[in-house]
């Protein structure tokens, strides 16, 4: 470490454990003003835990934190905010009932004059608009209730919140994992302009392209140890992966081609809420269908309509040529449809229940014997299989879902739906927040599903994974399909063009 450029933040020997689980085993690293410092590591490596210590959300067990050369104690999130550290957590932390600008100023509302005076709504409003503009967002959403925004937009509100803090260091824990390509571009631009202003950024991401594009230095964590800090420009991506997983990874997209069979799944005349035009598509055995589009294009709404999660009108759904009536998620599951939802915390998990219960809850009848009692041993065995298959870490069924890292939580949601032994799998952003190694596992799993005669539909905003894993891609824009490409004919440009309605 060079002594010349003084570090804005430096940490030494940080240790942290939860009960017997030693998560951080002595981490050193430093961040300089105006740099983007990336943290890379597998799911559960301890990245989020480390930044929670930096933001005062967790207390460290050992180690020191220096801010502008002085040792500091960060006991609460307010301490961190006061010295100029803002954080965008992996899981959204907005209050859905409040308006966007109220969220942006939550906890540090602007007042008209003194401390005890009335709130200055106008000033907050203007400032919120300015921050939203910096992110290339429509400033008028400042007035909207957060619950009416999609996940992507909510994430940008989180970024705007950090901007409004005038922080010297902004920590971003997987900020782009739920954004569409367009929003991601805006975020990149925003990161670059923050950097130009001398603001330091700690950036956590599992997307290697974006690390290459944005990062100055990269620190790699594995099993709670810091492996190395490297210059992004002078090192190979494959080398990072090797340091991160402890071995080299052969292929990022293990696409397998199967012979195309007959049509297995068909949707006809389905009217998704908020659109007029009915939607139609079909999937054949042996292929993986990708559904691409911008965030807000209606892909999740389409999936929810198929699954009976929202009321939809007039649609007909056929499995193996036979019409199935779906009025509720229960009907869908009974007809053999699984829907791996995108919002794991809100729609997927029981955070305060154990992993095994989370995994089996959509298919309890499988474990209910003639006695009407559930077979706890069978549940444990089956859950263990999934946990090993998906490499969930730590592989302890007694943990509550809340105590898993984000990527591992995602794996539990996937396991839950595998456990339903469905025939049709609709994955909504299945690899969001999971590390490169685990992504490959998920892709392999899709291959296996197709091989065993399941229908796989993947909604994804990540074009590389659509192009790498699908046989056909449907592009959605404003609630309707604007293109249907064979994968040989598709390209990032063509998909983007169709996605923007062009």
């Amino acid at each position: 470490m060079d002594v010349e450029t003084k570090s804005l933040l430096e940490i030494r020997g940080i240790k942290k454990s939860f009960d017997q689980n030693h998560v951080l085993k002595g981490i050193d690293f430093d961040v300089k003003a105006g740099e983007v410092h990336v943290l890379l590591g597998e799911n559960g490596a301890g990245k989020s835990t480390l930044i929670k210590i930096l933001t005062g959300a967790y207390q460290k067990d050992a180690g020191e934190i220096y801010w502008e050369g002085r040792m500091v104690d960060l006991n609460t999130p307010v301490d961190a905010m006061n010295i100029g550290i803002a954080t965008i957590y992996q899981e959204l932390n907005l209050i859905p009932q409040l308006k966007v600008y109220e969220n942006i100023f939550l906890g540090r509302e602007l007042k008209r004059s003194g401390k005890r005076s009335l709130l200055d709504h106008n000033a907050m409003h203007e400032e919120a608009k300015r921050c939203l503009k910096m992110l290339g967002q429509n400033p008028n959403i400042a007035d909207m209730q957060v619950s009416r925004l999609g996940i992507g937009q909510q994430q940008l509100v989180e970024v705007a919140k950090a901007l409004a803090l005038d922080a010297k260091l902004i920590i971003m824990d997987e900020p782009t994992s739920s954004l569409s390509a367009q929003e991601v571009d805006q975020l990149y631009k925003c990161v670059e302009s923050l950097k130009a202003k001398g603001i330091a950024i700690v950036f956590i991401s599992h997307r290697l392209e974006e690390i290459r594009r944005l990062g100055d230095r990269i620190t790699i964590l594995r099993d709670g140890f810091k492996i190395d800090t490297l210059q992004v420009r002078t090192t190979e991506t494959d080398y990072w992966i090797e340091l991160m997983v402890g071995r080299s990874l052969d292929e990022k997209f293990p696409k397998q081609n199967f012979t195309l069979g007959k049509e297995g799944f068909r949707v006809e005349g389905l009217e998704v809420e908020g659109t007029q035009e009915p939607v139609e598509f079909s999937v054949r055995y042996g292929e993986i269908i990708g559904i691409s589009g911008l965030v807000g294009a209606g892909r999740t709404e389409l999936a929810r309509a198929i699954f009976g999660a929202d009321s939809s009108k007039n649609g007909k759904i056929f499995i193996d040529g036979k019409e199935v009536k779906i009025k509720s998620p229960r009907d869908a599951i009974n007809s053999g449809i699984a829907f791996i939802t995108e919002d794991r915390k809100g729609e997927g998990l029981l955070l305060d229940q154990k992993l095994d219960f989370n995994i089996v809850m959509a298919n309890m009848k499988k474990f209910t014997g003639k006695s009407r009692l559930i077979d706890l041993n069978a549940i444990r065995e089956e859950s263990e299989n999934y946990i090993n298959e998906l490499k969930v870490r730590p592989n302890n069924l007694e943990l509550n879902a809340r105590n898993l890292s984000g990527g591992n939580q995602q794996k539990i949601v996937i396991a839950k739906w595998l456990c339903t032994q469905a025939k049709v799998f609709i994955f909504d952003e299945p690899t969001r927040g999971i590390d490169v190694g685990a992504k490959v596992e998920v892709y392999r799993l899709m291959n296996r599903l197709v091989e065993n005669g399941a229908i796989v539909i993947m909604i994804s905003s990540e074009l590389p994974e659509i192009l790498g894993m699908c046989d056909r891609v449907l592009v959605m824009s404003e609630g309707k399909f604007t293109a249907n490409f064979k994968i040989e004919d598709a390209s990032q440009e063509k998909i983007m063009k169709a996605a923007t309605g062009g």
């Binding site: 009960d19 699954f307 509720s328 729609e347 997927g348 029981l350 009407r372 009692l373 444990r380």
Partner: protein, 331 residues
């Protein structure tokens, strides 16, 4: 608590059974034991077979109401109507058996049926009428049921129940009150129901995350209706025990009993936010309240002062829980 219980069934050993963990998991039980020790020291009449059986008998009505109450609370709801439902159940049982002279078995069925019926009504209000929170629907039912109970006999009590009906609240097997045996049986059944049946597990799922539960194919409305029906059924059963104890039914029976039931559930470690809570915790919660009441009586503490102390215990118990959770998060 719950973890330990589940583990026993699984036959596996908890890996991190540190002293601290045990302390925090068994906090309610430890509280109960401490309470017993203190009262034994303070009063030589406390730890006698007679008095212990007395406590067992006194605790049974609240124990039955509390185990019913646990279910709505697990789903992040509440049932304020149990006290009033108890009253209407026993009044109608009185009308059928005493006034109309029907068979006592029919009386018992009426009592349990009326309780379940009002509980079912609570469930329908919540799920079909979509009233925003069970606090509201059960507050309504609470008043409706109490009102009807008063109207039936123009507020007059009904006495002179047949032995069959009084059996549960009055009889003993050796020194042990039948009502307490009933409580233990009911708790065992509830434990099996909550940990080993689909519907039982769904109750936890709905309390933890209703949207995730719905998207997992769980029929949330059906489970909620079952939950409130059972809560009502327990109110009826508690009423049956009460009639045996006092040999009469009166319209103001069970007045504000819902509060002790809620207190027992909360002291027993259940979370108001839903999804967390156990049968045995609830039993301990109910016993703590009963032991406290009994002990304070032995020590000649006035009823007003007892109320104050029980209030303080509720706050202290929940605070211990808060501390425990904070410790889990930070540490």
């Amino acid at each position: 608590m719950s973890e330990i219980v589940v583990q026993k069934e699984n036959g596996t050993v908890k890996k991190n059974l540190t002293i601290k963990n045990i302390l925090s998991k068994f906090a309610p039980l430890i509280g109960l034991v401490l309470l017993v020790v203190v009262l034994t020291v303070l009063s030589d009449r406390f730890l006698t077979v007679n008095n212990v059986m007395n406590i067992a008998r006194q605790s049974s009505i609240n124990s039955l109401l509390a185990i019913g109450m646990l279910l709505p609370i697990l789903t992040a709801g509440i049932d304020l109507s149990v006290g009033s439902v108890l009253a209407i159940s026993v009044m109608l049982m009185g009308v059928t058996t005493v006034n109309m002279g029907s068979n006592p078995f029919i009386g018992i069925l009426v009592c349990l049926g009326v309780g379940s019926g009002f509980g079912w009504f609570n469930g329908i209000l919540l799920t079909k009428l979509r009233l925003p929170h069970p606090f509201i629907s059960t507050l309504g039912t609470m008043n409706i049921a109490r009102g009807i109970a008063l109207i039936i006999t123009a507020a007059a009590p009904i006495a002179g129940f047949p032995y069959m009906i009084q059996f549960m609240g009055r009889e003993f097997v050796g020194p042990i009150p039948v009502s307490f045996i009933l409580v233990i049986a009911v708790y065992v059944i509830f434990h099996i129901f909550l940990t080993r049946t689909q519907t039982g597990r769904y109750i936890y799922a709905i309390g933890g995350n209703p949207e995730a539960a719905r998207l997992s194919g769980i029929n949330v409305d059906r489970v909620l209706i079952i939950v409130y029906t059972i809560s009502g059924l327990m109110a009826g059963l508690a009423g049956l025990v009460m009639v045996g104890r006092v040999n009469s039914a009166f319209p103001l029976a069970g007045l504000s009993y819902e509060l002790d039931a809620i207190a027992a559930v909360i002291i027993g470690g259940a979370s108001f936010l839903g999804g967390v809570g156990t049968v045995w915790g609830t039993l301990i919660g109910a016993l703590i309240i009963a032991v406290l009441r009994n002990g304070l009586n032995l020590l000649n503490v006035s009823a007003d002062f007892q109320m104050t102390i029980i209030g303080a215990v509720i706050i202290a118990a929940v605070y211990v829980d808060v501390l425990r959770q904070r410790k889990n998060k930070k540490k």
